[in-house]
């Protein structure tokens, strides 16, 4: 694939630039960016155009994301081309130049199936990768496989990648590495398995521990029972030692008690009960005496106070009269004021009545009360009258306004324009418009005709016709395609023969050149001796010998002769040389017989080739004749058509063009016709419209264009429409005016009718309110207010009168009450002193009440004392009864001394208590045995040996306790051991840990294997790649390297270093230089040579792609830069190379190469 064009439409700093990369074959294109930014952006643009703009891009600073556009034109090695535009996006990023959508995979074929990453990796190189490549060669000690693989894949850091794989793998596992994950895991697993085994508790172990626990329990049971037996015996002895004295004491006490059988055992509270009875009797008797005395005193007091007086019973009447007296005094003082107020109201009423109805007496004024009830109605009617007046006035105003308007309308009507009919005009406009934008269409048609005419003329010229031929194109008898094909075949045959002859001639020339060179070489090496040379040498030798023999045998001086034959020198010395020379010639003749034969062969070959050349030249002449014959036939065939026909190879294209010309000519005819049709139609429309306009406005100016005519007509139509609108508006307003006048008249009449009706109602409502008949609303309302005031004053005067009468009635009732009370008390009273009498009775009544209180208290006390006397008597009797009962209890005579009896009883009680105490002690010390059991036990014991046995038992028990403690310990231990077996299983925890370790190990093993296999695969692939590609790559890279190093190296070769193939540079003098013996710059050149060789190799087998070079020559001096450019130009014969640079010296070098067809310089 070749990039013909790279369009930097909108990308990074670019707007609309284009890189034309179509020149060259395919050529080295040096793209110079004046600054690094421009160059890098262009590089990115190139990649983005081919493979899409990355999601995140720094190239959208000038153009927004959605406006980014780059594009180009590519040419496949098969010759097909594609033009495209790339936009930013996730899909459908590939467009045709007209921005229609292209298949996203449209470029795939052109990219030879290379992915974006691969393209970047393999089909491009920059300075950093060049330097890295050189460094990798050094670090790998020139490892041949690695170097070739790195160059053949474009992978940089191959060496680092390999060592990373290895180090990652060995971080996981190494045969003797203890710290590695896998080694550690395996070790941990082993430890865990041991731990698990140790933590496992077997069933037998469990059974053993359980048996131990059971045995301990049995031992404890046995020992406990023995101990209990000993304890029992020991406690029996101890008990007897305790109870024996008590048993003896109890016996003595029982004997004493037997002596007191006749004594009565009195209850313990006997004494207390007797003393209480005696005290109660004494107290009761004293109280009785005192009560009698008090009763006598009270009886005397009652007698002294005498009976209750009558006045006490009249308390209510006395108090009521006293209250009434106060009220009566206040009423008498109010009465004169009330009389005054009543008179004042009456005179007010009289005055008001005299103002409005002087003919009425005050007593008759009640008749006016009827108007108070009508007040609301009268007020409503008064308001109604005002509203009716207003309505009438408004109707009158409306009438006047309507009349005024009528006049105005009449004036306007006289100024309206006359009526015009626009119907015909509208029809004409519509008809003209139906043709659409006819003039536009006509102009387009005219342009088409113009364009087609120009194209036809150009076609005519291109085909070599005179312009006049245009009309008779169809009649021309152009040779048919078949005729052309026939000529082509004939021509091709002749041309093929010419080419074959020519290439044969070139081959022969080359062969002859080579033969000449070889012959030359043989000659220059040393002239090959001939048989004649040998004969000459031998004759010289024989001559010398003859001279020598002559000198020796005949003693002649032969110096002169020798000089003649052999040149200067003594004969004795010259002879051996002559012998040697002859031998040498003989030797050489024999030794170089091969050379001789070769030379002979070469000479013979050269002769043969010379003959072949002559033959070739003869065929050439023959071919020329054939070609001339074809040419003249060709011209003859074309004569009727063209005086100078196209060449045979161009004829097919000429014919295609001619056919196209015919098509265009036809199209032109059609277009001309349609233009004519449009013109006619437009003319007609203009005429129609103009006719309609003139009918309406005769003085209109005619216009030439349909559009202008239509605009004027339309304007006229709008004018007429506006006039019609004004007329109809005037008619509508006139109608409205007539209606308004009628409405005003109607309203006036209605208002008058309502006023009449109102007058009737008013007269009814106000009749009798004022002296006359016709009352005005305002007067009627004022009179109504005054009458209300009169009636209110009269009502108040009547109220005062009623109160005065009440006061008089109360005074009468008071006198009656006074008289009634005096009668009940048996007293007499005068009317005029009634007040003083009431006061005196009230005072006396208070004194009588105090005496009555003292009387009541004395009577109460008397009654209470009588009750006390009865109660004390009762108490005396009860106490005497208790004492009699106590004697009965003590079974003694009524006169016996109860104190003595009580003392004997107390003695008996004391002895009984003593016995009880001894028995209680016995029960406590006897461990719950009955007295009989204790006595029986005491009877059966040997008191003398008791203590000895007790000592023995103590010792036995101590022993027993020790045994028991030991047994209990044993049981606790066994139980604890068993208890440990319950709960979580340590073994299962270890098992879980084992599985976790295995899981990790499994992952680590897979990781290790993955890395290890990757490393092995890579190593083997590298080696394999070397074996398959070593020879061709080294050969080609060697050539490139020689050029780049300015022939300081001759070629590249493989060598062995520790059984490892390595890369060696060979100097022209045969010296072999390993990679580490080269300078850094030379190693960079070495890597570049290898990369270029790999790129060429790839182009040979698959679609070649452009090789993108980013400033790799920057570190080269001018001479080497030139050499580098030469090498790139050489490779650019195989595939396009685009070299981006921002260094002027690189551009200068490229320009200095002066090979404009192969090295093309561009500027961004």
């Amino acid at each position: 694939m070749k990039i013909l064009e790279l369009k930097l439409t909108a990308f990074g700093p670019f707007s609309g630039q284009t890189l034309d990369l179509s020149a060259g074959n395919p050529g080295l294109h040096v793209v110079f960016g004046p600054n690094e930014a421009g160059k890098s952006s262009a590089l990115r643009a190139l990649h983005a155009a081919l493979y899409g703009i990355p999601g995140q891009t720094s190239d959208a600073f000038l153009h927004p994301y959605d406006a980014l556009r780059i594009g180009g034109r590519l040419c496949h090695s098969s010759g097909t081309e594609i033009a495209f535009v790339r936009r930013k996006g996730s899909k459908t990023t590939l467009l045709a130049p007209d921005e229609t959508r292209l298949d996203d995979r449209a470029l795939e074929r052109f990219l030879g199936g290379e992915t974006s990453e691969k393209f970047e990796m393999f089909w491009g190189i920059d300075h950093a990768r060049l330097v890295q490549g050189g460094r990798d060669i050094l670090e790998g000690h020139g490892d041949l496989g690695e170097s070739l693989f790195a160059a053949g894949s474009g992978v940089s850091h191959l060496r680092r990648m390999r060592s990373t794989l290895e180090s990652e793998a060995s971080a996981l596992y190494a045969p003797r590495g203890h710290q590695r994950a896998v080694n550690q895991g395996v070790g941990k697993l082993r430890e865990l398995r041991t731990a698990q085994r140790e933590a496992t508790v077997s069933g037998d172990e469990w059974a053993r521990r359980e048996q131990a626990s059971r045995d301990a329990a049995v031992a404890i049971t046995r020992l406990s029972s023995q101990e209990r037996e000993l304890v029992r015996e020991r406690s029996q002895i101890e008990r007897l030692k305790r109870v024996l004295p008590m048993l003896a004491e109890r016996k003595g006490l029982q004997e004493r008690l037997a002596a007191l059988t006749d004594v009565v055992l009195l209850p313990e509270d006997f004494s207390k009960r007797r003393q209480e009875a005696e005290t109660a009797l004494r107290t009761a008797r004293q109280n009785l005496e005192r009560a009698d005395t008090d009763l006598r005193e009270q009886s005397e007091l009652v007698d002294r106070l005498g009976p209750t007086p009558t006045l006490v019973a009249e308390s209510e009447a006395v108090n009521q009269l006293h209250v009434d007296l106060g009220n009566r005094r206040k009423a008498l003082s109010d009465r004169p004021r009330l009389i005054g107020q009543r008179d004042e109201q009456r005179s007010l009423a009289k005055r008001l009545l005299a103002e409005w109805r002087p003919e009425l007496e005050i007593e008759e004024s009640a008749a006016l009360r009827v108007f108070v009830g009508r007040r609301a109605r009268i007020q409503k009617l008064a308001a109604e009258r005002e509203r009716l007046n207003e309505r009438l006035a408004s109707a009158v105003r409306d009438g006047a306004k309507a009349t005024e308007q009528k006049e105005a309308l009449k004036r306007e009507a006289s100024q309206l324009p006359p009526t015009r009919d626009a119907e015909r005009l509208i029809v004409a406009i519509n008809e003209a418009r139906r043709g659409g934008d006819a003039e536009d269409e006509r102009n387009k048609a005219a342009q088409v005709v113009k364009r087609l005419t120009a194209q036809r003329d150009a076609g005519l010229e291109k085909l070599g016709f005179a312009a006049a031929t245009a009309d008779r194109l169809e009649e021309l008898r152009v040779p048919s395609a078949a005729v052309i094909a026939r000529f082509e075949a004939r021509d091709k045959k002749v041309q093929d023969a010419v080419r074959a002859t020519k290439s044969e001639r070139q081959r022969l020339d080359k062969e002859i050149r080579e033969l000449n060179a070889k012959i030359e070489t043989l000659h220059t090496k040393k002239a090959v001796p001939t048989d004649e040379d040998l004969a000459a040498a031998r004759s010289r030798r024989d001559a010398a010998f003859e001279l020598l023999r002559e000198h020796w045998e005949k003693g002649r001086d032969v110096t002169e002769k020798a000089r003649e034959f052999l040149g200067k020198g003594k004969l004795i010395e010259l002879y051996p040389r002559a012998v040697r020379d002859a031998d040498e010639v003989a030797d050489r003749l024999r030794g170089e017989a091969e050379h001789v034969a070769k030379l002979a062969q070469y000479l013979e070959d050269r002769k043969r080739f010379g003959r072949e050349v002559a033959d070739g030249e003869a065929s050439g002449r023959h071919q020329k004749e054939s070609a001339a014959a074809i040419e003249s036939e060709w011209r003859a065939g074309w004569k009727p058509v063209l005086s100078t026909p196209p060449s045979i190879e161009d004829a097919r294209a000429w014919r295609t063009d001619f056919e196209r010309l015919l098509e265009r000519s036809e199209a032109l005819d059609e277009a001309s016709e349609s233009l004519e049709r449009l013109d006619t139609w437009i003319e007609k429309q203009i005429e129609n419209v103009r006719g309609a306009v003139t009918a309406l406005e005769s003085d209109t100016r005619p216009l030439a264009e349909l559009v202008a005519t239509l605009v004027a007509a339309e304007r006229l139509r709008q004018r007429i429409e506006k006039e019609n609108q004004a007329r109809s508006e005037h008619a509508r307003r006139t109608n409205e005016n007539v209606q308004a006048a009628i409405d005003a008249e109607k309203a006036k009449r209605a208002a008058q009718a309502e006023i009449d009706e109102w007058q009737l109602k008013w007269t009814q409502a106000t009749r009798g309110l004022l002296s006359g008949d016709a009352a005005l609303p305002d007067d009627a309302l004022a009179a109504l207010d005054a009458i209300e005031k009169v009636l209110r004053a009269l009502d108040e005067a009547a109220g005062y009168n009623a109160r005065i009468a009440g006061i008089d009635r109360d005074a009468e009732r008071f006198w009656g009450d006074v008289r009634a009370l005096a009668l009940r008390l048996g007293e007499t009273v005068e009317h005029e002193y009634e007040d003083q009498w009431v006061e005196s009775v009230h005072n006396r009544h208070a004194v009588a009440l105090q005496e009555e209180e003292r009387r009541r208290q004395a009577r109460e006390r008397q009654a209470r004392l009588q009750d006390d006397i009865a109660r004390y008597g009762q108490t005396v009797q009860e106490a005497e009864l208790v004492l009699a009962t106590l004697r009965g209890e003590a079974r003694c005579a009524p006169d016996a001394d109860l104190a003595v009896v009580e003392q004997r009883s107390a003695e008996l009680r004391a002895w009984c208590k003593e016995i009880e105490r001894v028995e209680r002690d016995l029960v406590r010390s006897g461990d719950g045995a009955s007295f009989a059991e204790l006595e029986a036990e005491a009877a059966g014991v040997d008191r003398d040996t008791m203590d000895v046995r007790a000592g023995e038992l103590g010792a036995l028990l101590v022993e027993m306790e020790k045994s028991l403690a030991a047994a209990r310990d044993a049981r606790a231990t066994a139980r604890a051991e068993l208890g440990l077996l319950h709960g979580p299983s340590a073994a299962s925890e270890k098992a879980e840990e084992i599985q976790a370790t295995l899981a990790k190990l499994r992952e680590d093993v897979v990781r290790y294997a993955r890395l290890r296999v990757a490393s092995t695969l890579l190593a083997r692939r590298i080696d394999e790649y070397r074996r398959h590609n070593q020879a061709p790559l080294l050969l080609r890279a060697g050539t490139l390297f020689r050029e780049m190093t300015l022939r300081s190296f001759e070629r590249l070769e493989a060598d062995m270093d520790d059984d490892r193939p390595i890369l060696i540079g060979v100097r022209p003098d045969g010296k072999r230089v390993p990679a580490h013996g080269m300078s850094e710059g030379t190693r960079d050149q070495l890597f570049l040579a290898l990369r270029l060789a790999a790129v060429e190799a790839s182009c040979a087998t698959s679609e070649p792609l452009p090789f993108i070079v980013d400033d790799v020559l920057v570190q080269f001096d001018d001479e080497r830069t030139a050499a580098g450019l030469r090498v790139l130009a050489d490779v650019a014969v195989r595939t396009q190379i685009v070299l981006f640079t921002h260094h002027r010296h690189v551009r200068a070098s490229a320009e200095a190469m002066n090979a404009p067809t192969q090295v093309i310089v561009h500027e961004l």
Partner: protein, 421 residues
């Protein structure tokens, strides 16, 4: 009306397999999982006041010797005894091999059926007859059910049997029998064990594998537990699955197609893990993550799968409501461009891919790869060389998988190295 519980394949104290204890792994959440699941079973029996509990074999792992495990079983049975719940047990193939069964003295509410001949026990309060026979040896190839007595028609009959029935993939064919034969016995319910996946084989009569009580590795996914059966008027009225597991296993496949970055892939992974965690009913979750599909960031992932595994694990610590343990992360993503496309050109990369593809069928290559792994293979314990989770680097399957992974690793690194520099 009464209810009973049916469980099987308890495998007490059997460890969980495949859980690497990486740093943020919720180790405590899954400790003693089988024990806690069994405690849940006992608790459920007490809460539901069941009439009896059936254990259809494989209480322990066959090669498990720690007696503490047996004691734990006895303690749990004692709790059921307090609640007056009888327990019927048949020994399975694992129990037959186990030494634990021999010395163990379970409380008197637990009955181990004879291993010599079929035996019948009655639960008189509910008119139930339970028939069963345990395994005397590890490998029973006879049809034990054939000798079980026929039902007499008066009682509710339950058959307790540890069997592979007519064969279940992944399970040894022990005590083989057929649904037809079981149906012919006239029982109401066949309580089976041995198959770890829950299955209702038939509803007339009911033939049920309750599955194991607690999943122990990633091949045992989903809820695990026991079966609660309700019986009314002498007939099965309801059969319910009751999960008692404390840790769920899940495999989560995430399709990365369309994801533009590793961040987006991780987001999808987080989302998938969170929704798995939501499904685990608050239990701890062990999940295997498998990422697949063509993704733009394939090379970034394939060049360092270990790093992305760590990323996923870190991610899991922060998502969802439950404790999440990432069992493993498998990356099977594809690059957007076809590998074959890269292989077409005759250059170093093309030949690398072609050669690796060819290497898979080339005995000399295989031998060379094996030789490079011989060292590590020599130190690996047996567990890693045998069995279902084996990673024997010499086995053809493992080697094939590793070669594919290695190829992707290599290509990804080459491509990244090439385009990064």
């Amino acid at each position: 009306m009464f209810r009973f519980l049916h469980a099987a394949d308890v495998h007490l104290d059997s460890p969980l397999i495949g859980l690497d204890r990486y740093e943020s792994a919720p180790v405590d959440a899954v400790r003693s999982a089988t024990r806690r699941a069994f405690e849940n079973l006992v608790g459920l029996a007490i809460d539901e006041e069941v009439a009896f509990v059936l254990l259809a074999g494989d209480l322990y792992d066959g090669d498990w010797k720690d007696y503490r495990t047996g004691l734990f079983f006895v303690e749990q049975m004692a709790k059921l005894r307090e609640a007056q719940i009888p327990v019927f047990v048949v020994a399975g193939n694992h129990d037959a091999a186990s030494q634990l069964t021999k010395n163990l003295r379970p409380p008197d509410n637990v009955h181990f059926f004879s291993t010599k001949k079929p035996e019948t026990r009655f639960v008189e309060a509910f008119d139930v007859a339970v028939h069963g026979q345990g395994y005397a040896t590890r490998e029973i190839t006879a049809d034990l059910a054939a000798a079980y007595p026929a039902a007499d028609g008066r009682l509710f009959h339950v058959g307790l049997l540890h069997t592979s029935l007519d064969g279940r993939p992944g399970h040894a064919p022990y005590a083989p029998t057929s649904s037809q034969l079981l149906a012919q016995k006239g029982y109401h319910y066949w309580a089976l064990g041995h198959v770890h996946k829950r299955e209702v084989v038939s509803q007339d009569p009911w033939i049920v594998f309750p599955g194991n009580l607690q999943g122990r590795h990633v091949r045992e996914t989903g809820p695990k537990g026991c079966t609660l059966v309700t019986v009314e008027n002498g007939a099965v009225k309801q059969v319910e699955e009751r999960p008692v597991d404390v840790l769920r296993w899940a495999v989560s496949r995430i399709d990365g197609e369309g994801a533009s970055s590793t961040g987006e892939v991780l987001d999808r992974v987080a989302h998938a893990i969170a929704s798995e965690a939501d499904r685990s009913d608050g239990r701890a979750l062990a999940v295997r993550v498998e990422v697949c599909g063509p993704v733009a960031c394939h090379d970034e992932i394939a060049s360092d799968p270990d790093r992305w595994t760590q990323e996923v694990r870190a991610l899991a610590a922060g998502v969802g409501s439950a404790d999440v343990w990432i069992e493993n992360v498998r990356f099977a993503t594809k690059r957007l461009t076809d590998l074959a496309q890269l292989a077409t050109r005759d250059d170093a990369i093309g030949s690398l891919i072609r050669d690796i593809a060819a290497a898979e069928g080339n005995p000399a290559e295989i031998d060379a790869l094996r030789a490079s792994l011989a060292d590590i293979r020599g130190v690996l314990p047996r567990d890693l060389l045998d069995g279902e989770d084996a990673v024997d680097p010499h086995s053809p399957e493992t080697l094939a998988r590793i070669v594919v992974e290695a190829r992707e690793l290599l290509l990804a690194r080459i491509v990244r190295q090439g385009s990064v520099s």
